[in-house]
């Protein structure tokens, strides 16, 4: 419980380097690639939206990539995640293919939800991604239910449950933590505290200064880390995942981070200052991780350039795939409402 009392700033750089040196360079390179992929995926989706190529809305996690990729790195295909409305990073972290994610944005039949879900419902159940969720806190009890299945089935899988600071005042948050604790279920509750629930700041909405302090009420370990530090997130996630896998129950992990974009497309940034946004822009998690890898000699500049080219090619291919994919048929409007419906309902 000591850790939640410790405020930012972060742990000493030597500790963080230790975390990085525990992993082989290929793994770290892949993690950086995924972080850049998340960033470029969202920037490209935003652009496509501006150009009128896609409709609806989207919630961008630009600035939060370290938390998504750092937290999911210790997971395997046998583990589950539940995600949020700001969940593109979690999907990529859990191995989603940006092609099919783009296709979903474009509302195409080749998308993860066959164009029926859009940005807020991307899922890949076959690989343990139980889905993003349009309801704040909506995925939390579902995550605990998946963990109950895991326990009943005597598997050693774990469930990582992402949510934002906004969810920590929902009843679903409190009920979920309590259930996971009384039944000692393998859940890692990952709170991405990006400081605002739409426009309301954590200071105004939440009675405790660190959301991890909520863990005290549910008798589970609680940790607050610098969510913009890949190494810090990874370190805490590995610990929590190991704890859960050993059958020791849930952990509440709070990643303090910041969304550099607005809440959604309707946001006019009236509730925060330019200075605040600039300050967090300077703490960009991708720049930081890249610099750390270069300084540690785990990656060289040429590799970074190659990696960025790879990502650009993947984005381009993804956009092309999405645009060229077929749209769902109107005649299939009510398909998938029930298992038995294959074109017309009932």
């Amino acid at each position: 419980m000591q850790e939640i009392i410790e405020a930012l700033p972060t742990r000493p750089a030597t500790v963080l380097r230790g975390v990085l040196f525990r992993h082989d360079p290929a793994t770290l390179r892949e993690a950086l690639r995924k972080m850049i992929l998340v960033r470029r995926f969202e920037e490209s989706a935003e652009q496509a939206y501006m150009r009128g190529l896609i409709h609806g809305t989207m919630h961008l996690s630009i600035g939060q990539e370290a938390s998504a990729i750092g937290a999911t790195l210790p997971l395997t295909d046998d583990d589950y995640i539940t995600s949020t409305h700001r969940g593109h990073g979690h999907c990529i972290g859990k191995g989603a293919d940006p092609k099919r994610m783009f296709a979903e944005f474009f509302g195409k039949e080749t998308g993860y939800c066959r164009g029926r879900g859009g940005s807020m419902h991307i899922a890949d159940v076959s690989r343990g991604n139980l889905g993003a969720n349009g309801i704040v806190g909506g995925g939390m009890p579902i995550a605990v239910g998946a963990a109950l299945s895991v326990k009943r089935q005597h598997k050693d899988s774990v469930v990582m449950c992402f949510f934002g600071d906004g969810a920590n005042n929902e009843g679903a948050f409190h009920e979920s933590l309590n259930f996971a604790s009384i039944w000692k279920l393998p859940v890692i509750f990952v709170c991405e505290n990006n400081r605002y629930g739409m426009s309301m700041s954590v200071e105004r909405s939440t009675a405790v200064s660190h959301i991890a302090q909520r863990s005290l009420a549910y008798d589970m370990p609680g940790v607050t880390v610098d969510g913009n530090s890949f190494a810090e997130v990874l370190n805490a996630s590995e610990e929590a995942v190991a704890h859960a896998r050993k059958g020791n129950g849930p952990t509440l992990l709070e990643c303090e981070t910041y969304r550099l974009r607005g809440h959604s497309k309707s946001d006019r940034n009236r509730y925060r200052t330019r200075e605040e946004i600039d300050e967090w822009t300077a703490r960009d998690p991708i720049v930081r991780f890249e610099t750390e890898l270069l300084q540690c000699g785990l990656l060289d500049a040429a590799s970074v350039a190659t990696l960025r080219e790879e990502v650009e090619a993947e984005i381009e291919a993804g956009l092309e795939f999405a645009q060229n994919s077929p749209s769902p048929q109107r005649a299939e409007l009510t398909r998938y409402v029930y298992a038995s419906t294959s074109g017309s309902e009932q």
Partner: protein
């Protein structure tokens, strides 16, 4: 006789004996029938387990789980905290990941605390995810008035849920159907919500031994008749049968249809009956306005049955108020046998 023929004769004799045994079906209460269904389900399938408030040692608020805790243990009969949103959501998550939970709400009224998980998550998951997820979830809701429990423990909210694509909603009225529909619900790959009327828990009826299912979405004609069609749900099907017996003495031959399932709804059974009787009364306990009766009436109006109608449709539903505590007021708030008889007299008299 060849061996083959002999075998056939023996088989036929055996079948006959079984059929005779089947005729002498024992009687169980509605609550016992549900309990037996859950026991059979847990014996057949290790993925099945029960969750709910006080369903363990206590045996459930209405003693439906009874001694299942002693028989199957705490791992299969799981007491939950008083935490309906969380509990319902856990059931959704468990159902998505290879389990077959049966979640009991202590009172159907408490489902209002869990609407988010039922309506936004369980119901929509398959569709939102483009057919890639399944939520084979069973939820049980003790519902209805008549117990003196007042406004927050007596409601009939089934029509709320039946308004949501992705859910299935059933209302068994007999012990036979209570068992068969629960076992059918467990076979279903989609969420099935079972509304059980609290006044029916102690009612008795024949229940076959062993495993059987009653199809979801199929109405039952409980009494064939020529003069008026009464489409009823849950306990109102029982009351309608009582009303039909009284009407018979007056020379009115009522057909009583027990809808059994309100989503999906058996349109064919409703239409076929109206074609025969030309008169329709809908009887249900939920608030009359915007309830299941409106849907039944619409089926009559929008189909070929319309041409057969000889009188305006009558809806008999719950009064436009919360359920009151006073026993006389409580009775007055939902259709009783007398109300059904009076409505039938009116409609047969030609004036709806």
């Amino acid at each position: 006789m060849t061996a083959d023929v002999l075998e056939n004769v023996q088989a036929a004799q055996q079948e006959q004996t079984q059929a005779q045994a089947h005729d002498e079906v024992r009687e169980l209460t509605y609550a016992q029938a549900i309990q037996e269904a859950m026991a059979i389900a847990m014996e057949r399938d290790e993925r099945v387990f029960l969750m709910g408030e006080d369903i363990g040692v206590y045996g459930g608020a209405f003693q439906v789980t009874g001694d299942l805790y002693q028989r199957f243990g705490a791992e299969r009969v799981m007491d939950t905290p008083i935490s309906e949103l969380g509990g319902a959501g856990l059931a959704v998550g468990a159902a998505m990941t290879g389990s077959r939970p049966i979640y009991e709400f202590q009172f159907s009224d408490f489902a209002t605390l869990a609407m988010e998980q039922i309506v936004n998550q369980a119901a929509k998951m398959r569709f939102m995810l483009g057919g890639e997820a399944s939520v084979p979830l069973v939820m049980r809701f003790p519902a209805g008035s008549g117990t003196g429990a007042a406004a927050q423990h007596s409601q009939s909210l089934e029509a709320w849920f039946a308004h949501v694509p992705g859910l299935k909603v059933v209302q068994p009225s007999t012990p036979h159907d209570a068992k068969g529909l629960l076992l059918a619900a467990l076979e279903d790959p989609d969420p099935v919500l079972i509304f059980e009327h609290k006044l029916l828990y102690k009612s008795k009826g024949p229940v076959p031994e062993g495993y059987y299912t009653v199809p979801i979405g199929k109405a039952a004609v409980r009494r064939a008749g020529r003069d008026v069609t009464i489409v009823a749900t849950s306990i109102m099907a029982i009351r309608s049968l009582e009303a039909a017996a009284l009407l018979e003495q007056e020379g009115v031959d009522a057909e009583v249809i027990d809808l059994r399932s309100i989503r999906p709804i058996d349109r064919g059974a409703i239409i076929a009956s109206i074609r025969k009787t030309s008169r329709l009364i809908c009887v249900y306990e939920g608030v009359q306005q915007l309830g299941i009766g409106a849907e039944i009436a619409a089926i009559a109006c929008e189909s070929e049955a319309f041409d057969y109608l000889d009188a305006p449709v009558i809806r008999l539903g719950g009064a436009d108020c919360p359920l009151p505590y006073n026993p006389e007021l409580e009775k007055a708030a939902v259709p009783q046998v007398d109300d059904i008889v009076a409505a039938a007299r009116r409609i047969v008299g030609g004036r709806g």
